[in-house]
Symmetry: C2
Subunit: 295 residues, 2 copies
Amino acid sequence: MDITDFLVTKAEMVNQALVNYLPSKDAKPKTLNEAMHYSVLAGGKRLRPILTLTVANSLFNIEEKKVLPAAVAIEFVHNYSLIHDDLPCMDDDDYRRGRLTNHKVFGDAIAVLAGDALLTYAFDLLTELEEDFTPSQVIQVINEVSQGAGYQGMVGGQVADIIAEGKEIGTKDLEYIHNHKTGALLKASVRSGAILGGASGKELTALTTYATNIGLSFQIVDDILDVVGDEEKLGKDIGSDIGRDKATFPSLYGLERSKKLAKENINEAKEVLQIFGDKAKPLFELADYIIARDY
Amino acid sequence: MDITDFLVTKAEMVNQALVNYLPSKDAKPKTLNEAMHYSVLAGGKRLRPILTLTVANSLFNIEEKKVLPAAVAIEFVHNYSLIHDDLPCMDDDDYRRGRLTNHKVFGDAIAVLAGDALLTYAFDLLTELEEDFTPSQVIQVINEVSQGAGYQGMVGGQVADIIAEGKEIGTKDLEYIHNHKTGALLKASVRSGAILGGASGKELTALTTYATNIGLSFQIVDDILDVVGDEEKLGKDIGSDIGRDKATFPSLYGLERSKKLAKENINEAKEVLQIFGDKAKPLFELADYIIARDY
């Protein structure tokens, strides 16, 4: 299989579903609706929903169509977090993916509310899973997403990141930040796919380890790219984290050791997939793909 | 029954539950946790959770203890909305309930994230209803809360309110704003109690009308108090809405007609309760209480 083709196909499926599930273009209030569309349809790798779909479909043979409400809901949660992260009171970023950030186009107030709306709508959407899954599965997925996104997960990591700004922090704190800020929602993406697939306890544990490891690798690679990448590739200001005096993996471990760390995490992610045999090939290659990004 | 005693007793029950359900004082990150506690425990009438509890308990005889996760979740959603509403990019309020607003104490970034965390945690909490109710009831309540809070409801109303600022709007737009900004979550509070109580379609319809009417009355009275009340009573700047050139019921209808409108809405709210007989007494008196606030 060609992982690039695989990812493109899945991303197209996700993009189509995002359009379908966003409120219709005519829904009121227009400004809110436009702000939601603007950020959600601004592109992106769609890594989280692809993970949900791939786990459910490749490992557990669940029709992707049925899993789409979960995949889309998680992408909405991811997009809300980006909109809020970019706000002047947070990272104060003017560009994301080469386009003006939400608040630069719609103003800070609408950006806050567009984020709020996407987060809230995600849970509405998750209830639609009821059509194809047991109520207990639906409730478990709502649990995963809320805990992955909430104070115990993503928001907690974001706060820890803000508090750490300008301070000297150690490798433990840095891992805490990333395991929560990025890792928690990635984990929820993978585990949601597994729950909808009816995974056993052992399978869920393996997939949780997979998710944690690719999550950390992903962040390490992001940090590395922030140092060595070029602006065009990332679509955001290079060195912006360093400019804001944020601790990064390269700043704490150095570039070479960071690369090695990313590689080790990916190896462990691939290792735990073995219990699934050949069915895990897409997830296996997806792990490799994460550290194969140019750096 | 004395409605004031009734409300005090219920509010105490809610306050205790809020403490119990908030993340423990030791939960990390400390700053986020403190910011969540600060706003949630700042007092307030607890009208929304009281409605949920009273509908479920008085009308349908469900133990209040069982309904508390829903009541608390809705109060969390209400508190998140207040934190975000107070932000400098929104209403830019320095005080709420006589205390500094969240962002004045913790900074804008933490305030945004504390709001995000409360909203997200609300959905986590709703899944706890599974212990005492059918999964289908739990999913219905999650639906009510997400739609009441989301772009179709509260957030939609907030956006419409922002867009209307400084513009001349008519009575229809004003009702739209309030039916969404305040009404939608009140409706979700009442309907969630009804769903957990196993209400029939007819009962749910009656209670929806009740909620819509007390919601609108509540807002009209708030607008009136903003004109004639004193700062101490509301704990916020008097005339602040007028200062920001916001349309209000008194500015569109005049004071006397606004009072009459509030009264008419309350009468309709009480009218529809008749199908429940004597069991509806607390909800009946609660409706009266809403327009009995000093003005």
